[in-house]
Symmetry: C2
């Protein structure tokens, strides 16, 4: 039991919050004590469930003396303004990935947190998933030698889930590079354990009705000649979760009857204006959060090739394929899929031990996102400078 | 039944021939009538099994009036000389992939065949595998829209199978780029159906005892902004055939008890000089060919993303993941896994209808191999000129 959970405020009660909510409900390391949200319906629901204070603006939330840390789950392009407000209020920060969209914003956020001497964790992110942390421990043990290559891919219907217009506009952080690649980037950076040096990529934007990058293949070079290849399709019909024990990104068992659900829902809309409504129907107060997940979250198949073993991450743990034998190591159980990031927040705030995924970390992953877009646009290897 | 099989001579009775042998035994489109091989043991075995003539040199084989076509399965660096001899003798050619190692050699081979007015098929190659041909038909039907992206990966112990020294020397065509990438390249070129335009890649050479590229991740751009990503590890412990119904590259059911077999055999060698012996123990006459395979061959997991479906190739056929439903289409049965290339040879020689995989085709795939090495070495996108 935790007697002193971090008193957490949340800024934004949209989709990001909804995905973390089941973990916030189950994990003891953080207690929701306040929120900020523009929609009254969401605020009312928050107070009904958690008690505490509900503000219309992040500025007000940032000044609440009972709040120790704020989870910033507002749209990406607002992170800078909100992080600045929260840091000015002297609260620690948990900022949804990507940390920001522009590198300028990311710089400003890094600066705000550092100047105020506050902890900033970029997360939740799938780099906090239990099997990833387990694989990192295995790598760090040195038992399997160096990580040489990582291969990650993920096939989802990301582009056909209900979207607000800015989510389909790359300049505003839309498309799969900022919101999806960043997970793969976080994970491979964590597992490589050395700095990324340059990036090359090709991207695809092949749906004229949704004009943003929906797919990419990228290769990231790391110090020592290591590299990681990342492939993602958000246009997918194929579902790579079939290779992940049939478990969804959020740790839930997938139901075959839901095949094609996103495309079906979209095809039923009679007007483009209905799509944002479909999306806001998924925010807090309008519908319930996903069920508590029985498994860890994951971000698609991933194979980590070391000198003396290949490690395959699954939602349940890590398969170790060694020189002469293979075995499976289960990830340790947790109260909820996002317990690791909430535990990390607790460790930072209570014990002064922040995780690797700092503000600077989030900026470095964002830099790789930009490098993917630039490499594909300009047709060149892009050197990284903020790792 | 075929009453007039192509009277085929084979140059080289090594590993390449051994892998095609079960199909040559089962398929009616070609009849082996002669061979050329430097080892007397192999020649004796050939005559015992097939009758016909056995020569010590390819020049002699090329002059045999009973031979209509020659299957060149000698080491890559000898292809040019042997193709020239065979073309001078007026025989059609089936040349193992890669067509050659140097682009100069490939140019010379293209020229030899063209000047003599002979058919040259670059193959066998996994682009002739039944599920690949089935997927190509599906794509060509237009039913699923354009191919936008292909993702291919393959994890094998290629680098730890017994090797001659030149197979571990990139300058001599060693490593995985020339002999393994070329399959993935052939397949994605065939399925894209448009020209490849440029290539980017990173390669890994991380075993100091076997200094050649053993792994790579490459992205190939095609006309119209399409792209294919290829990842391969020949250092692998992980075996991607687990995603292919447990069926090996050669179409055989895999046996779990063979886990780590290549590394085990290599670790038992007491002197480096023993390794080529281990390899020559796998040539014709020294041991039997692999059993006849019950399934099609394959070259690892592959997902072909089209506008209205993703196609996943398996050794048994093609899974079609459509907008609202998915289904599986089995590949048509064939007498042997390499029947399609033998049928293609027959169609070329008897009916004047050569397959796509011509000499120029083989050169174009070889160009992509070189581009992978150059892109990784120089850190730049490499434009293709011979597609």
């Amino acid at each position: 039991m935790i007697s002193d959970p971090v008193r957490l405020g949340v800024a934004g009660l949209g989709r990001g919050f909804m995905l973390t909510l089941p973990s916030l409900r189950s994990d003891p390391h953080a207690a929701l004590v306040a929120c900020a949200a523009p929609r009254e319906e969401s605020r009312t629901a928050f107070v009904a469930e958690f008690g505490g204070k509900a503000y219309a603006t992040v500025n007000e939330l940032a000044q609440d003396p009972n709040v120790e840390a704020v989870y910033i789950a507002t749209p990406h392009q607002m992170h800078r303004e909100h992080a600045d407000a929260v840091a000015s209020g002297g609260k620690h920060l948990l900022v949804e990935k990507p940390l920001a969209i522009s590198m300028d914003d990311a710089d400003a956020i890094v600066e705000s947190a550092a100047r105020a001497g506050l902890h900033l964790i970029t997360g939740p992110s799938h780099s906090f998933d239990q099997p990833v942390l387990l694989a990192r421990e295995m790598v760090a043990s040195g038992k399997f030698g160096a990580v040489r290559m990582i291969h990650a891919f993920n096939y989802t219907d990301f582009l056909y889930r209900p979207r607000r217009p800015e989510e389909l506009d790359t300049a505003q952080g839309g498309g799969v590079v900022f919101s999806q690649a960043v997970h793969q980037i976080d994970i491979v950076r964590l597992l490589m354990g050395v700095r990324a040096t340059r990036v090359v990529a090709m991207t695809g934007a092949w749906d004229a009705a949704r004009q943003t990058e929906g797919a990419y293949s990228a290769v990231i070079e790391f110090e020592g000649g290591r590299f990681a290849s990342l492939t993602y399709s958000g246009y997918a019909h194929y579902d790579s979760d079939v290779l992940q024990d049939g478990i969804s990104e959020l740790g839930l068992e997938k139901v075959p009857a839901t095949y094609g659900r996103s495309r079906k829902a979209l095809s039923r809309l009679t007007s483009p204006a209905d799509e944002p409504k479909l999306k806001s129907g998924r925010t807090y107060g309008a519908t319930d959060a996903p069920s508590p997940a029985p498994h860890a979250e994951h971000f698609g198949p991933m194979i980590v090739s070391c000198d003396r073993a290949d490690l395959r991450l699954t939602p349940k743990g890590v398969e170790i394929w060694g020189d002469f034998e293979k075995k499976f190591v289960a990830a340790p159980p947790d109260p909820a899929p996002r317990s690791p990031v909430l535990r990390a927040l607790y460790e930072a705030v209570r014990n002064g031990r922040p995780p690797t995924q700092s503000a600077g970390w989030g900026r470095a992953s964002l830099e790789v996102c930009h490098a993917i877009l630039e490499a594909a646009r300009a047709g060149r290897f892009v050197d990284l400078k903020k790792q």
